[in-house]
């Protein structure tokens, strides 16, 4: 489903991704963890080409892009359609209602007629538990509700892969659960997901696989119970102990 070969990303002289290789199966939910600056967010953004990789080959489903060669806008647009991103700060369109936010992609990008798109958007809002908030503007919604609209907006494009970039990091603690629940449901339905998160409980409960990144490479990967209970690499052990310490505080 997803295959990544020797992915590099440089910002000027700073190499943030130093060769990532990864293969994921359809329907897998993968959680990426790692310290800040480890490149996990950059890695995720490369999958949607919000950052253009410096080198490497990415295949999602039937489309392959080789970033060693110049990539055309057309290629980027076609490739992007396979995945959809959910952002840490939601990035909803503030001048559109929840419903309009969800309809925007289908109507403007996919050219679906408004009535059909409206029905679909309404159904998606219902799925994330926000049917009654369809006509509210983002500023009228809580962070958790905004993020769920963000997920509905991403789903509206019927992506093959959902990408989550620290979707709960900006939320008040009591609002985290409602967003994780939606993500959990998606995973249970068999959506292929790549999730960058600090929510270790979510990683444990939902992930089919956990990747630990540090210094621009994947240091360790495995089943959540293996990674969390007996990590092999010293760096993984150190990171996990730091996290569990702060949990204790």
């Amino acid at each position: 489903m997803i295959s990544i070969t020797d992915l590099h990303k440089k910002f000027g002289k700073l190499e943030v991704l130093k060769g990532i290789d990864l293969k994921l199966e359809k329907g897998q939910a993968v959680v990426v963890i790692g310290p800040s600056g480890s490149g996990k967010t950059t890695f995720l953004r490369c999958l949607n080409i919000l950052e253009v990789p410096s080198k490497g080959v990415i295949t999602i489903d039937e489309q392959t892009v080789d970033f060693s060669k110049p990539v055309s806008k057309k290629q980027v647009n076609a490739f992007r359609k396979q995945s959809a991103m959910v952002f840490q700060h939601y990035n909803l369109f503030p001048h559109m209602t929840a419903l309009e936010n969800v309809m925007e992609g289908p109507v403007i990008v996919q050219g679906i007629d408004k009535a059909t798109a409206r029905k679909k958007a309404q159904a998606l809002l219902e799925k994330v538990g926000l049917a009654d908030k369809a006509d509210e503007y983002p500023f009228q919604l809580s962070g958790g509700q905004q993020q769920r609209v963000g997920i509905a907006r991403a789903l509206a494009l019927e992506p093959k892969v959902m990408l989550f970039d620290e979707p709960t990091s900006a939320l008040d603690p009591e609002l985290v659960g409602e967003v994780l629940q939606v993500m959990k449901d998606l995973a249970a339905e068999g959506m292929t997901m790549v999730v960058v998160t600090h929510e270790m409980r979510f990683a444990r409960g939902v992930a089919d696989e956990v990747l630990f990144m540090d210094g621009g490479v994947i240091v360790e990967r495995g089943k959540p119970e293996d990674i969390f209970s007996h990590p092999k690499e010293a760096r993984t052990q150190q990171f996990l102990s730091l996290i569990s310490n702060t949990d204790a505080i």
């Binding site: 959809a84 991103m85 952002f87 990035n91 369109f93 001048h95 403007i108 990008v109 907006r153 494009l157």
Partner: protein
């Protein structure tokens, strides 16, 4: 002396009232026929130029940036009156003859374009990067992102400064009198030239300008309210 003579001399007072009364109509005609159309057309064309110039300024293509910078620099660095004179009196010497009204339209549009481009550039840059990314990630092209996501939000931010630009423009159109456009101020000059009541005529013109600008600022308030429906207050 002047004031005295008005209040002490009933004949003169009556003459002033007569002139004033018969002047309102031609003045308002000048406003409706020329000042307002000139202002509106120049503002709309100017805005179009401004958006293109702003986009050129923030584009990554060097040559676009340079053209936009030079254009803004020239227009902002030279007096509007000089620009109008070059268009109307200057260009004919090299065989380019433009009638007063179109010359004024060109001059004012270019002027508004340069000033408003800075407003629009700032407004576009004030929209968080995440909005571009969200538009990109749902598959929008550059043009779609601009039209659907960025410009509608930038418009909200731009309303107060662009209203300033528009109000300035209405008043600046009085300069068109000097390239023979019979807009309101030229009408005032023409009437005053026949009866020498300069204070009266220019005062009447000032009053009408003020009234129009006042109505426009009411319009600005309504427009702001409309755009503010999606932000918390």
């Amino acid at each position: 002396m002047y004031l005295n003579s008005i209040f002490t001399d009933p004949v003169r007072l009556e003459r002033l009232m007569d002139i004033s009364q018969s002047s309102w109509l031609p003045l308002i005609e000048g406003m409706i026929q020329y000042t307002i159309p000139l202002s509106f057309i120049a503002f709309v064309l100017g805005l179009a130029i401004a958006v293109l110039t702003a986009l050129a300024r923030i584009s990554t293509i060097k040559i676009f940036q340079v053209i936009a910078r030079v254009y803004v620099s020239i227009i902002r660095g030279t007096p509007l009156l000089v620009q109008l004179f070059i268009l109307f009196y200057g260009l004919p010497t090299i065989g380019v003859v433009i009638d007063p009204f179109p010359a004024a339209i060109i001059g004012f549009s270019l002027n508004v374009g340069a000033y408003a481009s800075e407003v629009i550039r700032a407004a576009i840059l004030s929209i968080p990067k995440g909005q571009w990314e969200a538009a990109n990630t749902i598959g929008m092209s550059y043009a779609q992102s601009l039209r659907r996501v960025i410009l509608p939000q930038a418009a909200r931010v731009s309303i107060p400064p662009l209203s300033n630009t528009f109000i300035s423009l209405i008043k600046d159109t009085s300069l068109a009198s000097l390239i023979l456009v019979t807009e309101m101020f030229r009408v005032a000059q023409q009437i005053a030239a026949t009866n020498y009541e300069f204070l009266l005529l220019y005062g009447q013109a000032a009053l009408i300008y003020w009234l129009v600008c006042f109505l426009l600022s009411l319009g600005q308030g309504r427009l702001e309210n409309r755009f503010d429906r999606y932000v918390s207050r």
